[in-house]
Subunit: 193 residues, 2 copies
């Protein structure tokens, strides 16, 4: 049983989402049932139903705020003047999000359940496509596309590695350095925090 | 129902493994039961039991030959004289394997079921650890470790992307180029095929 805080009259929506992310990472989305989530919190299934009717509804609640933030970064990046500047802005925004969600991004990067789910949300899949395009445009052609895929999946998976002794900020800096090298971007002289 | 060849007296071991890989990629390992695999082949569960008693046994049969090949590459790489030469040999061997198994490597890169399974096989996890060490040693310190993680997961996931019109050989070359850039390796003058 996973110990999480909940209000006296039932689990909070957020505690259900937190436990779900832990279980998704451990068992994959397809391997995690609402029953398993309620069991982990010591609840009946009906307590979950008050907040989420299906696993997809729960998954949606987890993903939506992150896709919204990603979409903000994509729009901001697309407004820059050059392809390298656009990719650099996208890269820093993606690293920020990945490091802020080190439990969740590895699930995003490889879980077929998430890939399937994105197919049912064309607007969200479009955000991911635009992100890939921003990275790929640094070097138009097949090389750019392959490097975009390596950077996106590689960074998402890498934040799941503990890297003993490295702070989140150090992981973020190293991810940015790795992403710039992969995409062929120069380290900017003035850091955008 | 997935159409696969099988001998007259039952499904071949290989056709069961092929269908399993397709279903793992679609539903994750945890989301794929032996029942689903037999259903996809239009078989009874007892027909599978003749070959595999559990899903782990099937997963093991799929992974073992690839880990064996990976271990060969690791040993060959470790025998080279310099850190960059060791990483370059590891990188080409990894790209070869990833491109030869474009259906399976994306499952390896992100599926918690595979990660869990590797925990039960310390000898196999050790091969993966040695591979990461070969990549990380190009630049001792945290940067090298992060770049090793990005390259390993990024390449494994990227082979799952269709990249319209790109041949396997072109994908392999672009993966090598991406991996070398990420790790900071020079393109070798004489290509080792």
């Amino acid at each position: 049983m996973v110990s999480r805080s909940g209000s006296a009259d039932g689990p909070t929506r957020q505690s259900l989402m937190d436990v779900a992310i832990t279980l998704f990472a451990r068992h994959s989305v397809a391997g995690t049932s609402l029953q398993m989530i309620s069991d982990a919190l010591g609840l009946t299934k009906s307590a979950i139903y008050h907040h989420f009717r299906t696993r997809d509804e729960l998954l949606s609640a987890i993903i939506e705020p992150i896709v919204d933030q990603l979409a903000d970064v994509v729009r901001d990046a697309e407004a820059r003047r050059t392809a390298p500047a656009r990719a650099e802005r996208m890269l820093t925004g993606y690293a920020d999000l990945a490091v802020a969600h080190r439990d969740l991004f590895p699930v995003f990067s490889g879980d077929p359940g998430v890939v399937d789910f994105l197919r049912t949300r064309p607007a969200w899949a479009e955000v991911v496509r635009r992100q890939a395009e921003l990275f790929a445009a640094v070097d138009p052609g097949p090389g750019g596309q392959v490097r975009a895929a390596v950077v996106m999946a590689g960074m998402a998976a890498a934040v799941g590695v503990p890297f003993d002794g490295l702070s989140d900020e150090a992981v973020r800096e190293e991810l940015l350095a790795a992403g710039r090298r992969t995409l062929g971007l120069r380290t900017p002289r003035v850091r955008t925090a």
